[in-house]
Amino acid sequence: MIAVTAVRLLAAADAPLLAAPYYRGGDPGPIVRSLAHVPELLEAAMPFIGVALGPSGIPWRTKELVIVRVSARAGCRYCVQAHTAVALDAGLTRDEILALRLAHDFRQVFTDPRERAVIAWSDAATSLTPPDPQTRAEAAEHLAEHELVELTVLAGATLMLNRLATMLELPTAPSTLARLNELALA
């Protein structure tokens, strides 16, 4: 497969000085390798992305609901594929992932009212208008204020990465694609 990205994905030998620490553990992946073109942005973005998408007060599974859903709504192939693999690791089932990926109505698959509220909130976060009263009421009933803030920032950070990956046509790792192909989830 020849990956054609819009910008060069900087290899370790070309990594700017401030980006070099991100390459110490091996290939840091296409997000770091593209952001490395602007090292000061990479340095500020990675800690932010780590806090927004990584371990926090909100359970891993819940965060992956948002990431996969928002990425699917934004039509981001790279993020959907990468986070389908992460969602499997976080314990989501194939059916749940397919529902998040818009293959089925999520309310048929997800029965927990809190998870339904999270997914509806994610959908609202990808629209251009404030959430409708029903989505807002559902969220207020099942989610604390700090959770709403964090999930909204998570949705926004995901959208930023969706735009980066889609605009620059970042390639999915071959190992991830192989794993998804086995489960017919590519």
């Binding site: 070309d14 000085l17 401030l18 340095e43 500020a44």
Partner: protein
């Protein structure tokens, strides 16, 4: 005193700040770090920006300015700009020395009596050996220009860039520069660094970050660790010695460089940062 001024005064950071005035050149030397030639993209910083950088550098606590290229004297506005920069800090400008025809010498009037010195490349004491790397007529033009510049009262340094040079040849080169009016302390000999076009010609020595002094270098593409950083190979400007794309305010790359030099944790230099 700013942190930069303290680091410079304490010898932890070199005092000289470099700028790439442009990337095009009337020559196309085999060892050129920047693949310079007449038709390459010019990447000009421009006179306003160069004077602004000079002012900021002075305020931050740098002690000297260096201007390189490309061939900076292809820029008609350069002498006036150098004179304005020199009101902030002393300037050393690197030139191939081939553009100083009598008409062009007259244009150097603004820098006479200012603290602008020139560093001219002269690699060998014989025209044939010198011009093999640097192009026809190079030797004759340089040897003609240097005494005229010295006569104008401009301080001239000579830079010899070679893979190796025999003692006898070096002796003749030194005799030549003395004869041209350039004293020994103004003759520098430096190795070819294997970057840019030197890679294609398999010339010079490899240089990593820690082989190069941390001399902050500003270009249109961003700020670099050293003037050996923003080199060009196959038309692409290198990124391995890039510090930041941001060059204004100058404190952004200067503080990032200081942080790298002192191996301080990320974010230590940032006053406004989300983390």
């Amino acid at each position: 005193m700013s942190e930069i001024a303290e680091a410079v005064a304490g010898g932890r950071l070199p005092g000289r700040l470099w700028m790439y005035a442009n990337y095009h050149c009337n020559l196309a030397c085999t060892y050129c770090l920047t693949e310079s030639a007449p038709q390459v993209p010019r990447r000009e910083l421009g006179p306003t920006r160069m004077v602004e950088i000079a002012r900021e550098a002075s305020e931050l606590g740098f002690t000297d300015l260096g201007v390189t290229g490309g061939e900076p004297f292809l820029l008609m506005w350069l002498p006036q700009t150098l004179a304005e920069m020199a009101t902030h800090l002393p300037v050393l400008v690197l030139t191939n020395g081939t553009l100083f025809s009598p008409k062009r010498l007259a244009r150097l009037e603004p820098i006479r009596g200012s603290s602008v010195a020139m560093q001219i490349s002269l690699d060998r004491p014989d025209p044939d050996a010198n011009d093999e790397m640097r192009g026809a007529e190079n030797f004759a033009k340089v040897v003609d220009a240097i005494p005229r510049l010295v006569d104008l009262g401009i301080r001239v340094r000579i830079a010899t860039t070679v893979e190796s040079i025999e003692d006898a040849e070096l002796d003749r080169l030194c005799a030549l520069h003395r004869q041209l009016g350039v004293p020994d302390e103004d003759h520098v000999i430096r190795p070819i660094v294997r970057r840019g076009r030197a890679v294609d010609y398999r010339l010079g020595v490899d240089a990593q970050r820690d082989d190069l002094p941390a001399e902050l270098t500003i270009t249109t593409d961003g700020a670099y660790w050293s003037p050996f950083g923003p080199t060009v190979h196959s038309g692409v400007v290198g990124t391995d010695l890039l510090i930041t794309r941001t060059t204004s305010p100058l404190s952004v790359p200067a503080n990032a460089l200081l942080r790298l030099v002192e191996a301080r944790p990320p974010g230590d230099d940032m006053t406004l940062n989300i983390r």
